[in-house]
């Protein structure tokens, strides 16, 4: 029996480049990095980040938003409302039991934890909020979307570090193919730009430190002089739907989600396997799942963190498997590395690249590392028709997730 096709019918974004899909897409296409000095990180070894500007929860989410939701949930709600509205589906009338929610999140409500932990130490246990636990636990990102939209189907959060968003979308694909759901609200969210988290990444040498005086030049994936990532935050949400269900209601289809592949390096707790064996298996599995050959890949939204090790290892795999035919970008140059949200935000950008026949440039790519033997888009956005787009995501723990999107036509 033929597997049901899965359509992308709704998109929503909250990134450092802007609130909303339009603002975020314009931001990544401009190639101007959204990194800036972060006053909350002042005095720390790394004090730059890609923070979402002007994110006012009480205005964007509603009254008491800052009392009920941690920032990672607030951003997921804003992105999900945009995605559901974009899909044209009506949560008032849909069969909620057929609607699932699967989100990725690497960290959860660490800001709430951090605040309440300080209160307990400074004031005492009686000062700890009764709302701490539901604000902190990572699964609440999906739980709150169920409440928002009356989505009573399967509901969970995946944690595969920086691949979490892509893993979630892959799991959502399974729920649609196996007939469990007609619609899945999926993606990822993360708000981990905290002093202690940022410093933790700095201590392990993962962050860029060379250009703290010029933050907008720090995230430079595939550049010869890259030296680490810039931490970011945000949320990317997609409404996925069984293609038949979308067709029956005459929905506009942005693209199709055609394949998913996952693997683990089992090589090192944080460093990528330089041979890329695990990544190769995930990519090969995703392409096979989509029924496309490596030669058919037109566009790759790379994991491209801007760390020396990741970009070199990822490029070797892409070169070996796909060659230099595909137009490659890393949108982390503009929006930074949003950890558990990255795979979802980049999935949305991959869909938009197909829809707009445009590949955004990799910010700050001035001199391409000679080891990176790929066609990486630099400078300005490139007009480029893509029928097949691949989005790579790799997490600490060696966890790899690869998505394949194809054009709607």
């Amino acid at each position: 029996m033929r597997r049901p096709d899965v359509a992308v019918t709704g998109l929503g974004l909250v990134t450092a480049a802007g609130i909303g899909t339009e603002a975020s897409w314009a931001g990544v296409c401009s190639g101007v990095s959204a990194a800036s000095r972060n006053p909350e990180l002042a005095g720390l070894p790394v004090d730059i980040s890609c923070t979402v500007p002007d994110f006012n929860p009480n205005k964007l989410v509603g009254r008491r938003a800052s009392l009920i939701y941690d920032r990672f949930v607030q951003m997921a709600i804003v992105a999900a409302r945009e995605a559901v509205a974009d899909s044209g589906l009506d949560p008032e009338t849909w069969d909620g039991a057929r609607v699932g929610v699967v989100l990725g999140c690497g960290m959860g409500g660490l800001r709430s934890y951090d605040q309440q932990h300080k209160r307990m130490n400074e004031v005492g246990p009686q000062a700890v909020s009764a709302l701490l636990i539901p604000m902190m636990i990572p699964n609440m990102a999906a739980g709150h979307l169920a409440l928002q939209f009356g989505a009573t189907g399967p509901n969970f959060v995946t944690a595969t570090a920086c691949a979490s968003g892509a893993t979630a979308i892959g799991c959502a694909l399974g729920l649609l193919r196996d007939g469990t759901c007609d619609v899945v609200i999926t993606g990822g969210t993360e708000a981990g730009v905290l002093p202690v988290v940022t410093t933790g990444f700095a201590q392990m040498g993962a962050l860029s430190t060379k250009r703290l005086d010029a933050p907008e030049t720090a995230s430079r994936p595939f550049d010869a002089d890259r030296d680490g990532f810039v931490i970011g935050e945000g949320s990317g949400i997609l409404v996925l739907e069984r293609a038949e269900h979308a067709r029956a209601r005459g929905a506009r289809v942005h693209a199709r989600l055609a394949g998913y592949g996952a693997s683990d390096d089992a090589h090192h707790i944080t460093a990528p396997d330089p041979e890329g064996t695990g990544v190769t298996r995930a990519l090969t599995a995703a392409l096979a799942d989509a029924g496309v050959s490596p030669a058919e890949v037109d566009h790759v939204n790379a994991h491209g963190t801007s760390t020396p090790l990741n970009d070199a290892a990822e490029a070797r795999v892409l070169r070996r498997l796909i060659g230099d035919r595909a137009a490659v970008t890393s949108t982390k140059g503009v929006v930074g590395h949003t950890l558990g949200a990255a795979g979802a935000i980049e999935a949305v950008f991959s869909v938009l690249a197909i829809e707009h026949s445009t590949v955004p440039p990799t910010a700050n790519l001035e001199l391409q590392d000679p080891e990176i033997e790929l066609d990486v888009v630099a400078g300005a956005a490139r007009e480029h028709k893509s029928n097949v787009a691949v989005s790579n995501s790799f997490g600490f723990g060696g966890q790899n997730a690869v998505l394949v999107f194809t054009s709607a036509a």
Binding site: Q126, V128, S129
Partner: protein, 83 residues
């Protein structure tokens, strides 16, 4: 401490800490009507404890209580603590 004063203090807490509109609050309005469920009520009791120094057990208040009833409860607890 008079009931009026306690009531006013409670209203201030609801407005400043729970983002309730002042015009929505009256002695006869319930916490439910102010969209405050049991979890919020627990949080309110914790705030009352830390800001007014009065301990009220979770079992003695419910979301169907009115703001006026809660003010009386605080007064009673204050009097009991002082006696």
């Amino acid at each position: 401490m008079s009931t009026t004063t306690t009531y006013d203090q409670l209203v201030d807490i609801l407005v400043t800490r729970f983002e309730v509109s002042r015009e929505d609050i009256s002695p006869d309005v319930t916490f439910e009507a102010l969209e405050m469920d049991s979890l919020f009520l627990v949080e309110l009791l914790l705030v009352i404890q830390s800001e007014m120094g009065v301990t009220i057990s979770e079992d003695s208040a419910s979301p169907s209580d009115t703001v006026g009833q809660a003010a009386k409860l605080i007064d009673a607890a204050t009097a009991a603590a002082g006696s």
